[in-house]
Symmetry: D2
Subunit: 391 residues, 4 copies
Amino acid sequence: MIGFCDCARISFMKTYKISEIKDKRILGRNVSDAGKSDKALALFWAASALEINVKAKEVWVEFSSMYDDSEPWVSVYVNNKPVSRFMITKENKMNLCIARGLNPEKENLITIYKDTQPMSGEEHHSLFIHSISLNDEGVFCPLKERKIKLEVVGDSITSGEGLFGGPEEMEWIPQWFAGSRSYGAQVARSLDADFSLVSQCGWGLCWAWNGDIKGNMPSVYEKVCGPMWGKYQEELGASELYDFKGGSDFVVINLGTNDNGAFFQPEWKDESTGKVYNHSLDKDGKPREEDCKTIIAGVKNFLSMVRKNNPNAKILWVWGMIKLGQVPSLIKQGIEDYKKMTGDKDVYSMELDSMEDVEKTPEDKGSRGHPGPLVHALAAKKIAEFLKTLL
Amino acid sequence: MIGFCDCARISFMKTYKISEIKDKRILGRNVSDAGKSDKALALFWAASALEINVKAKEVWVEFSSMYDDSEPWVSVYVNNKPVSRFMITKENKMNLCIARGLNPEKENLITIYKDTQPMSGEEHHSLFIHSISLNDEGVFCPLKERKIKLEVVGDSITSGEGLFGGPEEMEWIPQWFAGSRSYGAQVARSLDADFSLVSQCGWGLCWAWNGDIKGNMPSVYEKVCGPMWGKYQEELGASELYDFKGGSDFVVINLGTNDNGAFFQPEWKDESTGKVYNHSLDKDGKPREEDCKTIIAGVKNFLSMVRKNNPNAKILWVWGMIKLGQVPSLIKQGIEDYKKMTGDKDVYSMELDSMEDVEKTPEDKGSRGHPGPLVHALAAKKIAEFLKTLL
Amino acid sequence: MIGFCDCARISFMKTYKISEIKDKRILGRNVSDAGKSDKALALFWAASALEINVKAKEVWVEFSSMYDDSEPWVSVYVNNKPVSRFMITKENKMNLCIARGLNPEKENLITIYKDTQPMSGEEHHSLFIHSISLNDEGVFCPLKERKIKLEVVGDSITSGEGLFGGPEEMEWIPQWFAGSRSYGAQVARSLDADFSLVSQCGWGLCWAWNGDIKGNMPSVYEKVCGPMWGKYQEELGASELYDFKGGSDFVVINLGTNDNGAFFQPEWKDESTGKVYNHSLDKDGKPREEDCKTIIAGVKNFLSMVRKNNPNAKILWVWGMIKLGQVPSLIKQGIEDYKKMTGDKDVYSMELDSMEDVEKTPEDKGSRGHPGPLVHALAAKKIAEFLKTLL
Amino acid sequence: MIGFCDCARISFMKTYKISEIKDKRILGRNVSDAGKSDKALALFWAASALEINVKAKEVWVEFSSMYDDSEPWVSVYVNNKPVSRFMITKENKMNLCIARGLNPEKENLITIYKDTQPMSGEEHHSLFIHSISLNDEGVFCPLKERKIKLEVVGDSITSGEGLFGGPEEMEWIPQWFAGSRSYGAQVARSLDADFSLVSQCGWGLCWAWNGDIKGNMPSVYEKVCGPMWGKYQEELGASELYDFKGGSDFVVINLGTNDNGAFFQPEWKDESTGKVYNHSLDKDGKPREEDCKTIIAGVKNFLSMVRKNNPNAKILWVWGMIKLGQVPSLIKQGIEDYKKMTGDKDVYSMELDSMEDVEKTPEDKGSRGHPGPLVHALAAKKIAEFLKTLL
């Protein structure tokens, strides 16, 4: 082992811009020239990643970030196992060593995840990877091709909110988010699939947790990273139309939790139009007729949109990691209507184990009232097993 | 929440040298003026830590390190839950933000662990904490006193070797070590105990994994950090006698695994004396008579040494996270002999669940052939439950 | 000399917060608890500085900065000679080595200058010194007391604008400013005086280069750093009243150049009152009667203000590094009136060599149309020689 | 100018490896693939440099270094004027902003000099430039071609030793060296010439200051950077034969000062052969006959070597910045002999003004007993004027 850390050898390290690395994989939706242009690689969504396969003793990554309030966090996996996790503070580049002393004769798969979802409340939140440096004899190797492509559409649960920190943590801050540990990422690793999370905390199928009708995922589904707004994000390409390139093999949808949440919130006023929206339950504690219709139509329409962009996908709608009331029956109705309407058979649904049912100990629980590691693990297992039956 | 990240406020952050922080706790054996002098705080053992309790929005830590081959890794816990983990590369100081956006009205317990054991094969391995910076209105709060003091003496298992990385990882490098995730650290968190790991990979009670008689823990037990050698470590205080200050309430000993390992190794020659040591099993596959005697005597002597320095401790000898052959019976014999000889009643022993028995899936397994997270969790549970009965 | 750079020794370096360094000198106006509180030391004016005297092999300084557009530059002098110069980019702290391999048996005087004037057009411009680190055996030594205290009040010339860069450089940016190389700093070094520059580019005695009546130095003379505005600067203490502590031994005033400049500019409208100010020359090319009166009164009033705060000072008014028209005669009239009015004899005046007369080669010239190194050196020599006659 | 420093724009900065920058110039001897390979650019000699011409608002440079004792210093010039100077500490890369707020419509020539000579006493001394970053719209522009190529061969004087620091500084450390301020660099800037310094402190034509016969410049003249030794430097290419590519237009030789110095030193013993060399003067205070012959032959042989590699050069031998005794007459004799022997007419000689004669004030003087800025300026002027007559 002598020698791998010989100080002086660092002089001979070689730095590769992302565009110079032929053998790489970019996980998560991105702009069409991502990793090809001479710009730094911006990562957008939770669990989006740069993945490389190296024979090298030492690997450094040069990051930078920008944000107003909410800094991005990174998780690094080696051979599909987490090794490190840290935030990237703005403003200068940070050149960090993420692996040392690796066996240079052996291929090591390194995945550099953005653990943080796009923070839609602010303009500048972003994470950049500028370069990778290897020791002088290090090489990039081809990545084993993955046969399956998975997309998971959801809300904070899908973004992995609550997967760090204990149940008493109640701040809405990036350090408690971990896309890389989410059920979606676990499903992907279990199926050996390339994957994409398209998820935004607080957003729903038809409206957000507070009834805000702009907080609906279908409205941004066809963009690179629709929840991010403003001139800066535009320059990064967030608002471009996303090139689906034939679409995914599996699309898992986990929407409805925030739609349900809005039933228990005060009315919401659209300040731009003055219109007021009230989603509160009726006197029998049931969703109002019009809200039911909206959700059923929402399911149908969103399925059509997903199908249009993913013509060959098996589509699976899941719910229940946080218990919902009557929303699941509306989702099921919407799915049935959609299938009838279109003859599309490849749409499935599944209820997952809920945090209310399975979390017993503090270790099971997540932070900020969100499902913890156990619920995510169970969800991942159930979904992966089901998807395997569809292969 | 507006404002916590206002760029300009960073100008007003306040930096505190460790000696200036009155409200702090240093976990793990250290020199007597640790955290009191104007030098940076050096951390020695796996899971040694600096612990602070802050009301602050933002916390930065200034680290540095020195090493020949093996860099130190750090794990940061917030309120006893892991949040980040990263290596500290030498040579300049690294000022890293470890928490942002915390609620400044709430106390948050932050524990900054050295995840890496002292790397006895090299002269310079070391980790330093120079300062903590808080946002301008941040304050250090008193730490809730802990009633229990725990020491765990062991080998690589106790150092948390293998707790990161999958079973196929076979390099002996720091990134696979995680003292902060070890059973010992888990026991301490579960008992709300201050604790100290005194553990060294490859070392045993009487000899090391390869039969090297210098690799025995009793020979270094009374020093601050005995396995570290050379002028540099001397300056850091590693070879000073450790001030036990009345000793621990519980001492858990997990030694014997490498003593057993040496039975299956070729003979070892002490290059300084020319003497050859052969610990191989006899033709019936049993330890030789003299080795049995040495181990039994070793147990007695080490218990005496531990007792001398920990007059009020309940002492618990554990084994079995990796299956041993006949060593446990020798340990039990030694304990019995010691108890008879001294009348000391407060010595206990316990077999733990083995990796061979309980690890079923790849997720259960650790790297480098070491027990994985499941075995550590089971061991922690069993030990903690037993110790609670002794309270 | 062997050993001063031994890598491992950096572990033993000791870091001192500014408040912990007893033996230090802060040059330039500052808040009353500057260098005493546990906050970083903010430097405000051009050529303001932290000065230490060390027996140490190696000296590191931890800087940070904040700004909108204009970053601060630093010049480091060792034993009154420039050694390094660099900008401090925001946002994280920069820990920079400024001297290595010094003879640790010898005292070395190290002066860390802010080369950049307060940039009054923006809110956040600021420079901070957080700490000094010395090698482990390094010590801070008492600084030889200086007998003389000098203040120089002026405009861009006094701020050292144009002292870096060639004559073709026309951008108004910090890299062309060098307070540490200005005539004022040279006078101070030549008299072995503590000193303070109170100077602002574009400002005058009665109005700014464009006629803006708010751009007059007397209006800010009694504050710590009057030209800096806004909440952020207030927190830093820029708008506090400055504690003159008995005042300087010499006050050199070099104002009038921008008052003259405004004669050749269009009228200026005070947007807050709507009032229009026109300082253009009359048809004979002479300043208007009312402007002459204003300047003469301005001189008298400012001398009174300076005298009030510097009861024992010799006051010297200088001009001419850029040629002025009739302004000098107005200044002289003002001085005479003031002396008559008050009986104050300790006010002097002096014309300096002009860039128009003495700059012959490109090497002589400064950037941005400002006096270059030759004019500053001549001015320094003439002023220092005159002040020596007053001692 | 608004906007150039908009924080968020830094996200869009573009980083260029040296090999990606087509429009660049490398000053100083280097390996044949310097700036073409994907390795960082190593700079070897004093005043070796990377030169670029940019239209950009902001320029960052990524440096690193390695050394045992003596760190490299960098001087940055903008449009041939010094702007910043700093040391590069090892071990991680330093990404430093060297210019901000430039007019992006205007070409700015930026020269990044290694101020420090190769430090022949140590194995690892080296400086690397890894990349240049420009703001997103910044571009590299073609550099105006230079018609003249100049090489200057010498000792510490040529390396610019003593050009920083006052006369009382006596430590032999990099901070007092400034190749970028040396007479050779000044001649080059004055002739608008590309140039190379080939110079080593303490070395001579025939032996070093202490009589060491290995310290002679002819022995290393044909290598990339002959004074640097060891495996590390070999990997960098220091010991490769230098590709003269047709040679320089002017070669200035300033050797002889250390040959003279050895006359006043004790005898020197070659430890590898046991042979003792004594260069002390004879009883009349004159160099011994054999030394005179050696020097005369040395001049002849070195001129032949220089001519071989620079077939079209005007060769000028200079001396006298530090006064020599009889060495100049020996040099002149050697030149005459060479010219006679070869018929080569293009060899000239010239005595320069000495520090003993022209330095009057402390400002004139250099540090470590070396010629100061005045002597270098006079030498540069005299040499440049003479070379112009040869054009």
